[in-house]
């Protein structure tokens, strides 16, 4: 058997090597995993033991890194505008006195809203911290003014406490949240563009021939895609500690079915735009690249307008990526079977449509040839 290895070089680079290098670089870049020690500034308008305690609490928290103590509250915003800090705390003048006189002074947290990843996190962390400080202040008041015991004062100040249990990603790890899906999105696009540029129509003389070519491409690109995906997940799991809680076989089955759907949909594109390889590649890119946004992986589907949800229901990635994340982080996914079924339906539907497209194209070609030969005979006859 004579195999032309040269033709596999580019797909090998694009599908296997490139996404894996990107995976290592991106995981390494995010190796801190959680957003901690966020650069912060404090305006200490009132320098008392109470306010210094607040700053000490802020400094001892893992979330904030107090880099600036400023003299003017406007400096907090200026530092934020310069990109030097992402969080600021403004303790107003006479804060301690105002508390003692029950004037309800205002403690202001300032958050840079342009950095969503840190902003939502600092918002929660700062409000938890300030609530604790507030409870402490209320406790001292109740003890002093109403002669309550420490326990009574605590339970009066904080009658209802919150216990959080975060399922799937308790440490709010960014690699776990983002990278398994995003890296496989790169593999998906690479597979799709390569498969969409294959010459399945040109190389096929009949339906059987076409079927054989489709199968060959399905196997070639499918295997390359699966191997690349496995390597990516293995690096994330063994080097960057991304959990894979489900059985590996379940993850593998999902990967196989997903890759089949991606390759078959790309072959459908190849069969429709068979004469224009570059255009077919661009169509595949335009269809598959937005799927990482439309799948609900980061911005959830529940918040998207219906139109976009409907588009995403035709994208294999939608049925794959959240299921993968659930399998990895939770150990199971309740929509596993449904999503496998949906991916198989997309595969089958794409294959049938490619066959239909092939038959139509060949019939048009045949008719054109017949018309040409008829007109040729007519010319000869004349």
């Amino acid at each position: 058997m004579n195999i032309n290895f040269k033709k596999y070089i580019a797909p090998l680079i694009l599908i296997l090597i490139f996404p894996n290098l990107v995976n290592i670089l991106t995981c390494y870049s995010m190796k801190e995993k959680q957003l901690r020690y966020i650069p912060s500034a404090v305006y200490l308008g009132d320098n008392t033991s109470m306010t210094r305690d607040i700053v000490r609490n802020l400094k001892s928290s893992e979330t904030f890194d107090v880099q600036y103590i400023v003299d003017d509250p406007n400096e907090v915003e200026a530092l934020m505008r310069d990109g030097k800090i992402l969080f600021g705390l403004i303790i107003p003048q006479n804060f301690t006195n105002d508390i003692k006189n029950f004037k309800s002074p205002k403690l202001t947290t300032v958050i840079d809203g342009t950095q969503l990843s840190s902003a939502s996190f600092t918002k929660i962390a700062s409000s938890e911290l300030l609530m604790t400080i507030k409870a402490g202040a209320m406790m001292s008041t109740y003890q002093g003014k109403l002669s309550m015991s420490e326990t009574e004062a605590l339970n009066t100040a904080m009658p209802i406490n919150i216990v959080n249990r975060l399922i799937g990603n308790p440490t709010r790890n960014y690699i776990n949240f983002l990278l398994p899906g995003m890296m496989l999105a790169i593999v998906q696009v690479a597979v799709a563009m390569n498969a969409a540029s294959s010459k399945i129509v040109k190389k096929s003389s009949g339906i059987i021939d076409f079927f054989k070519n489709v199968m060959k491409n399905l196997i070639d690109y499918g295997i390359l895609g699966i191997v690349s995906a496995i390597l990516i997940l293995a690096v994330q799991h063994y080097i960057f500690d991304v959990p894979i809680k489900a059985y590996y076989t379940r993850v593998l089955l999902l990967l196989i079915v997903f890759m089949l759907a991606v390759v078959s949909m790309s072959l459908l594109i190849a069969s429709i735009f068979s004469k224009k390889q570059v255009f077919a590649t661009q169509v595949a890119a335009v269809w598959f690249i937005p799927s990482s946004i439309l799948s609900g992986y980061s911005w959830p589907l529940i918040s998207m307008p219906d139109f976009f949800r409907q588009i995403s229901s035709f994208m294999p990635y939608t049925y794959f990526v959240s299921t993968l994340r659930n399998l990895m982080l939770k150990g199971h996914s309740y929509d596993y079977t449904n999503n496998i079924a949906m991916l198989l339906i997309l595969t089958l539907g794409s294959l049938i449509l490619s066959l239909v497209s092939f038959v139509i194209r060949k019939q048009i070609l045949k008719r054109n040839i017949t018309l040409k030969s008829l007109s040729g005979r007519k010319v000869l006859h004349d």
Binding site: T108, I111, M138, P159, L178, Q277, R325
Partner: protein, 367 residues
């Protein structure tokens, strides 16, 4: 000058150039902007398991029910049902109110409300938790007032005790913390980058003459596309653009000049337009993820920052340009970034020059 005009004619006579470099970025800007149309992450499905069923627990449930952030999808009958609903992503959060909740609170034993949150999607989890904390804090304040009334503290004084200090939050530039504000200013630069690459590289592969004019024409047109996309953000998608749009267009022009250096290396190394298109299209997600937009540069290890800065110029411009558009000011590190970007462009233009001296492209095979 004649060469410039002939290149200009060449560019405008190919409809694909206009479609890809101007039309598609505009369409995608509006398309993706509408994906993030809903500013707030609202109506997050939750379940409630109220083991107490007292007036206090019901009022707490009511607070969750009437908050637009949540939709109470169903009421659970036991803890397993809550866990299963969260595990199966049927709901994103379960609120569990313990038995004797009211009794414990009233007898000042303090009680704990458990929030079981699906944290696999951090965007949902953070929003769900933040609002739940606010709700419970409000209920806590109400209970506090009742306690103090019981102690015969006058209402005006008890309010002061409870509001011993106010917690005020100012989230600057994007108080809604919406994805639209967060993603779109960076995304338009990536869109312009991708379509610039896929057209410029292919055009250079097909015709290697007048490269200087080609760079000039492609970068100017892509910068103008950036200006149109920024206007779409402002006027169609309603994003508050504070920075001067002409200045931001000039910055995008500088970026594209720097990008053209590495694009030229690609164009001179690959002879197949097909492979070039594939490589260019493949770069969108990796370049966005490693540019310090999703994960800030200050939190990256220095070693990976060096590698990224040596390989792709997006890291120099994407965050400063976002800051400029949304905050109206450039960050403190902008000058050094510009300097580094110039060095980047110089090195890659030099590499392109060396490659152009060789006749044979490095990757020239095609299926």
């Amino acid at each position: 000058m004649t060469n410039f005009i002939s290149e200009l004619k060449k560019f405008f006579t190919v409809p694909k150039n206009l479609l890809f470099m101007i039309g598609i970025p505009m369409i995608f800007t509006v398309f993706f902007g509408n994906v993030y149309k809903n500013d707030y992450l609202n109506t997050i499905p939750i379940t409630v398991y109220d083991m107490d069923n007292s007036s206090l627990s019901r009022s707490l449930v009511e607070e969750f029910d009437k908050n637009p952030r949540y939709t109470v999808d169903f009421y659970s009958e036991n803890l397993d049902e809550v866990k299963q609903a969260v595990e199966s992503t049927q709901v994103y959060m379960g609120v569990v109110i313990p038995s004797d909740f009211e009794k414990d609170v009233k007898s000042k034993k303090s009680s704990k409300v458990a929030l079981i949150v699906d944290a696999t999607n951090m965007a949902v989890a953070n929003n769900a938790l933040a609002s739940a904390t606010e709700i419970i804090s409000t209920v806590n304040a109400g209970v506090n007032l009742q306690f103090l009334e019981g102690k015969n503290v006058p209402p005006s004084l008890s309010k002061r005790y409870v509001n011993i200090f106010e917690m005020n939050n100012r989230t600057l530039w994007d108080p809604k913390l919406s994805y639209k504000y967060y993603v779109m200013p960076g995304m338009i630069l990536v869109l312009v980058q991708q379509l610039f690459l896929s057209i410029f590289v292919v055009n250079v592969i097909e015709d290697k003459t007048n490269i200087f004019y080609k760079i000039l024409i492609h970068t100017i047109i892509s910068s103008l596309t950036f200006l149109i996309c920024t206007s779409l953000l402002k006027h169609v998608l309603g994003i508050n653009i504070i920075g001067n749009m002409l200045t931001s267009t000039f910055l995008s022009f500088m970026y594209l000049i720097s990008l053209s250096s590495i694009a030229l290396v690609l164009a001179l190394s690959i002879s197949s337009p097909l492979r070039a298109t594939q490589i260019c299209m493949l770069l969108s997600v990796p370049s966005f993820l490693t540019a310090g937009y999703v994960w800030p540069v200050m939190k990256m290890p220095q070693f990976s920052v060096y590698i990224i800065k040596a390989l792709w110029p997006l890291i120099y411009m994407i965050a400063p340009l976002r800051d400029y558009l949304i905050k109206g000011a450039l960050p403190y590190y902008f000058k050094s970034n510009m300097l580094q970007m110039t060095v980047f462009a110089g090195i890659w233009f030099f590499i392109a020059f060396l490659i152009s001296k060789k006749s044979r492209p490095c990757l020239d095979e095609e299926d």
